[in-house]
Symmetry: C2
Subunit: 239 residues, 2 copies
């Protein structure tokens, strides 16, 4: 029962390996359910507007929601929680790795959803399956600061990893094998950027993704990146 | 007065550009002072043990503090705040960039010190100036989760960027130009890893750093990376 429920939850982009946090539910219109034993949990979807979103972010969100109407694009919900089964799959692959103790797990949060609204990573992702593209609309909050007034490069790297991973992971269990980022310009804190990623090559279990980060008007290039993701294959574990 | 005070604060590794957060004070034994107009602020140094530190992290910390006794290694304090003057330098370089509004700045925190003790990035860095090495002892807390029980790859990328930047930045204002990471194995949440970085080449304003991330016993390789940092030169701004 747990497996079949999770199977329904695991649709487009559900299983991204270690860089999770965005995992679409069975439908894209309501909250996702998660079953643990007899307990039913309603997962909050954080990829929807909240009062901290700027006008730029809301306008872009509306534009992409419009693109979703004909089914060519899909909004990808994201949660603060990750499914137990995904972890088991991953543990089986890296079977010498040690997991944390059971009692430590309730405190854990998905990194990119670990802050309260508006303080950290505010974002929503949209995926186009035909074009193999994922777009992330991202607003970096005040707790993601590098130098005073600027977004930290590590926060930018995190969002590039996540967005690129989503372009690669649709329907696949994957891990990031390589992430190569050219930082072109610093991103002002609180500003909105558009992260465009595209799966451009697949060779066996290897998935190659390109990515760029631009201002809302597209005129300023903040970063470019390439990344390599590898599909997990339980028959060929790493050890 | 502000500049001279800040100059005293800006010693080893003080000015790292956009990936800041670790900035040694005038001495390595007490809290750092910061002057803003007539206000004197005592900055809390977060690179010291707190109750969330595991036995592994405390033991490693003690080992490196021992290495500091002959002056070959130095502990690098780090703060939640960043100095205004550093931002001005950076703004001058990227002079078309927009900073956030004055009223938004008080809420901002340095990303890698934005969580309460034990929840996020727990770390301390040590630098060896003769060998051009920086070592970071890092414990990832429960808010840095990727898949359940594992550290998020973006959090790992952040710490690699920070540690590599410290190896490159000693006495220099720099920005990260490229970050290229090979992820070898996922890192269990709450575990301690050792991040070793080394400045191996300098060509004009370009600084090249190598880095690896290993388990405490050195046997498990979690990640390898190379990175390129560029010294800021106010005479040659980017626009």
């Amino acid at each position: 029962m747990l497996r079949s429920c999770l199977a329904r939850l695991r649709t487009l982009g559900a299983l991204r390996g270690p860089r999770g946090g965005a995992r679409p539910p069975a439908t894209d219109t309501g909250p996702a359910l998660r079953l643990l034993s007899s307990e039913e949990v309603i997962l909050k979807d954080y990829s929807v507007p909240n009062p901290s979103w700027s006008k730029d972010l809301r306008l872009l969100y509306d534009q992409y929601m419009k693109k979703c109407e004909d089914g060519s694009w899909k909004r990808l919900p994201s949660y603060r929680d990750v499914a137990v089964q995904e972890t088991e799959d991953f543990k089986n692959f890296f079977h010498d790795s040690k997991l944390i103790k059971e009692e430590q797990m309730p405190q854990a949060r998905v990194f990119i959803r670990s802050y309260e609204d508006g303080l950290g990573f505010e974002f929503v992702m949209f995926h186009n399956d035909v074009e193999k593209k994922t777009v992330c609309l991202f607003q970096g909050g005040p707790y993601l600061q590098g130098l005073s007034g600027w977004l930290h490069g590590g926060a930018m790297a995190t969002m590039i990893d996540i967005t690129s991973g989503m372009a690669a992971s649709i329907g696949e269990r994957i891990v990031t094998a390589n992430l190569n980022i050219d930082f072109k310009r610093p991103v002002p804190l609180y500003s909105v950027v558009v992260i465009n990623s595209q799966l451009y090559k697949a060779e066996g279990r290897k998935l190659f993704v390109s990515c760029d980060v631009r201002s809302v008007d597209g005129k300023t290039l903040y970063a470019e990146a390439t990344s390599l993701f590898v599909k997990l294959d339980p028959e060929k574990s790493s050890t």
